[in-house]
């Protein structure tokens, strides 16, 4: 399981700083869009190195090659 952290700071004027942590790739943008829809308009956006890392996926590919050799029964 992946841990997704969001730190939200609401200033005394109502301006909001959102820091999305532990979310990589497209999922990070989905969080950002959701929070933008909830709060208001984007004043600035900063993508950090983690954004560009590939999303973690647990996937196992199993391949079984079947060969029928000449002379086999």
């Amino acid at each position: 399981m992946a841990q997704h952290d969001v730190e939200i700071t609401i200033s005394r004027t109502g301006e909001v700083k959102v820091h999305i942590e532990g979310v990589k790739g497209k999922a990070c943008l989905e969080y950002a869009q959701w929070l933008t829809d909830v709060i208001g308009q984007v004043k600035s956006r900063q993508l950090t190195s983690e954004y560009y890392e590939p999303e973690v996926k647990s996937r196992i590919d199993l391949h079984q090659d079947l060969k029928v050799e000449d002379g086999a029964p």
Binding site: M1, H4, V6, I10, G14, E21, V42, K43
Partner: protein, 160 residues
């Protein structure tokens, strides 16, 4: 770190949600609710009755008063000492904050109105954000009021 966003708040909501935020801001800034919407509505009805009795010949007055009655349903009056702040929905549907008080200068009233507006915005956004976070199954890890009066919320969720 993944993404850092700076967002400017937009308040688009129904009156009850704004009224809750206004009550929260009032409490934080030491204001007390002088009149609730229901009390004001009742007062307006009494005023309507009195007016009807005094102006029985004006048939159109009834519908005009009815419109005023509906408008006053969306208003909260707050007081702190000799200062009064009124939060209401104006005719264009915008939320308006008006500060008044005899013993205060215009600059003081402007400052009070601005401070209240900011607090109302902060309370409104806080309520909305917390509701949305809970709906997405986020759990609050930490929440604190900072020295600069900002509110910092740290939430977390686990995803498969």
């Amino acid at each position: 770190m993944s993404t850092v966003l700076i967002l400017a708040p937009v308040i688009i909501s129904n009156w009850p949600a704004i009224a809750v935020a206004a009550a929260g801001a009032a409490s934080a800034l030491g204001f007390t609710v002088k009149q609730t919407a229901q009390e004001m509505l009742q007062q307006d009805k009494q005023a309507q009755q009195a007016q009807t009795q005094q102006n029985v010949e004006l048939e159109l007055a009834g519908s005009e008063v009815l419109a005023q009655g509906l408008a006053t349903d969306q208003r909260i009056v707050l007081t702190k000492g000799s200062m009064q702040i009124v939060v209401e929905r104006d005719a264009r549907g915008r939320c308006k904050v008006c500060a008044s008080g005899k013993a205060h200068s215009k600059a003081e009233l402007k400052q009070a109105a601005e401070e209240f507006t900011q607090k109302l915005t902060q309370c409104f956004i806080y309520d909305k954000v917390m509701r949305e976070l809970k709906s997405k199954s986020f759990q609050v890890v930490n929440e604190e009021m900072m020295q600069d009066e900002s509110i910092r919320i740290h939430v977390r969720r686990w995803v498969d």
